[in-house]
């Protein structure tokens, strides 16, 4: 299943859930991604690292087709999730995004109650039963490790939460739709160290049930939370390997230079 020549340090029986092959991405005439081929294993955490503008966020947003909203953008190559090409004309983007949740860099709760934030996804997908909604909301908030802090004020406005709480609420909101994959775009970059730690702990808990792809600026964070790490530089994938290997003994000189802080 795993091509040993490309991924010598991946366990051979690792199940790959996302397959990108020869992906190019264009913003108008500007090419942002060049020939990206990358496998992402199920129920593990994969970190995408690299300096600003290296294309890691662009690649992440290709995985749930959030780049579709950018005018004059274009994807070439193939991205498959569970062996299904997600860029065919008959792909149902709504179904794709139910399967592949996303958490953004800047926490973006809706100016509604905490309950309505989490119930938003299930509601637009047709869940009307109030008891079922309450169950989903509680379950999701518990999974996102914020239930105890908000259970007494579910109907208070989500804008009143702290930055770290808002971000965990956004994670709960994403989980409420029932995704298998969670994309995180620098989820802790705007948070204080303590809130960052809570998010990292949460990622550690979620990895048992979810495939997580996290973009991060922070190399220590990548080292702490991820099982596999892909290093992007100037729109190209330089190296992808087991995280300890990347941080101790990378194969490429550029990777080594980046992780030792020589640039970036």
């Amino acid at each position: 299943m795993v091509e040993q020549s490309l991924y010598p340090n991946y366990p051979q029986d690792l199940e790959m859930v996302i397959t990108a092959s020869q992906v190019d991405f264009f913003y108008g005439a500007t090419q942002a991604l060049f020939d990206i081929s990358l496998l992402i294993p199920a129920k593990h955490v994969t970190a995408l690292i690299g300096p600003s503008g290296c294309g890691k966020s662009t690649f992440l947003r290709c995985l749930n087709r959030m780049n579709d909203t950018i005018p004059h953008s274009r994807v070439e190559g193939e991205i498959s999730i569970n062996q299904k090409d997600i860029y065919t004309p008959d792909t149902d983007v709504v179904e794709l995004r139910k399967e592949v949740g996303m958490v953004f860099q800047k926490s973006n709760p809706f100016p509604k109650s905490i309950f309505d934030n989490v119930a938003y996804g299930p509601r637009i997908h047709g869940e009307k039963d109030p008891r079922r909604l309450a169950e989903i909301v509680e379950q999701s908030l518990q999974q996102a490790a914020i239930w105890d802090e908000v259970k007494d004020r579910l109907h208070a406005n989500a804008m009143g939460l702290s930055g770290g709480q808002q971000q965990r609420l956004c994670i709960a909101r994403a989980l409420a739709v029932g995704p298998k994959i969670l994309l995180m775009d620098e989820p802790a970059s705007a948070l204080d160290p303590k809130s960052t730690m809570r998010i990292e702990d949460l990622i550690g808990e979620l990895r048992t049930n979810y495939t997580i792809v996290i973009v991060t600026h922070n190399m220590q964070q990548a080292a702490r939370v991820s099982d596999y790490t892909a290093f992007f530089y100037e729109g190209r994938l330089i190296e992808c390997d087991a995280t300890p290997k990347i941080f101790t003994n990378p194969r490429q000189k550029q990777t080594e230079d980046y992780i030792t802080g020589r640039f970036g």
Binding site: K106, N108, A174
Partner: protein
């Protein structure tokens, strides 16, 4: 020494700008003062609740008030859905292609068309071509065309003010574009849309030229029975009393009273708009 000169220039410019601002306030203040001073004496219950007599030289202005209110309601009913719909298309769906640039140019041009041209357009299209005759329907449609640019521009701005984060989050949760707009854009932008629109409609409520040829009756001491009836309207009534009436010089209180009522009506609309905005601002904050 150099800094000293600059300071003097600064002070002078500040003074000049202040005076200009005061001059504007003075003009508005004088108009208000003049109307209130001369109109207040004419104002009483009988004036606003009874029908005019002797071509408006005596009696009240009740049918004109009712007529203007009908026109405002008709204008809102026609222009709000059209304007907001157009704004949603422009802000959320339209790309920056040549066709849409043309639409935007058309809207800007529409805003600059003189009101008498709208009146003639309404006469040609709604009164004659559509066969509505001079009527509330034709007048409302004409006024609606006139306020559309204001409503579209205000609504579009209000839509664009909704943070991108809400849009991204909605879409990422699997909302379709329309679900996103309906659940996470419109609720937050509606107050801005309505406020901007009401201000535009308030402006239209005081217009004379567009209703002159499409709805307004010179003297009609009864209330309309359907939207195909003519009505009297405050701005046109005022115009008649002030310039066309044989006894124009002897009915000053009637003129000022009508002007005052018109002014109060428009200010009332603006006040309503402000209240709506404050209410929604409290409800959705981010």
């Amino acid at each position: 020494m150099k800094t000293k000169t600059n300071n003097t220039a600064d002070t002078l410019i500040l003074l000049a700008l202040r005076l200009i601002t005061y001059a504007i306030v003075l003009v508005i203040g004088y108009i208000l003062f003049d109307i209130v001073k001369n109109g207040a004496s004419a104002l009483n219950w009988q004036f606003v609740s009874s029908f005019p007599r002797r071509s408006g030289a005596a009696g009240g202005i009740f049918p004109a008030i009712v007529g203007t209110l009908y026109l405002v309601v008709g204008t809102i009913a026609v222009s709000l859905p059209l304007g907001i719909g157009g704004a949603i298309y422009l802000a959320e769906y339209a790309d920056q292609g040549r066709f849409n640039t043309t639409i935007r140019l058309a809207i800007v041009t529409l805003a600059g068309v003189p009101s008498i041209v709208f009146g003639l357009f309404g006469l040609g299209i709604f009164v004659l071509f559509c066969g509505f005759g001079p009527s509330i329907l034709a007048g409302s449609l004409t006024l609606a065309c006139m306020v559309l640019p204001t409503i579209i521009v205000a609504s579009e701005e209000s839509l664009r003010a909704v943070p991108k984060g809400f849009r991204d989050a909605s879409l990422a949760l699997g909302a379709t574009k329309w679900e996103m707009i309906r659940t996470n854009i419109l609720p937050y932008s509606l107050s801005g849309m309505i406020t901007g629109s009401i201000l535009g409609i308030g402006r239209a409520a005081g217009e004379t030229a567009p209703i002159l040829l499409t709805v307004a009756a010179f003297f009609l001491p009864r209330l309309p029975k359907s939207i195909f009836d003519q009505v009297m309207a405050l701005p046109y009534h005022l115009y008649i009393l002030a310039t066309q009436h044989p006894e124009a010089d002897r009915i000053r209180p009637m003129q000022y009273g009508t002007a005052l009522i018109l002014l109060l009506l428009v200010l009332g609309l603006s006040l309503g708009a402000i209240l709506i905005r404050t209410h929604f601002r409290k409800k959705f904050r981010w």
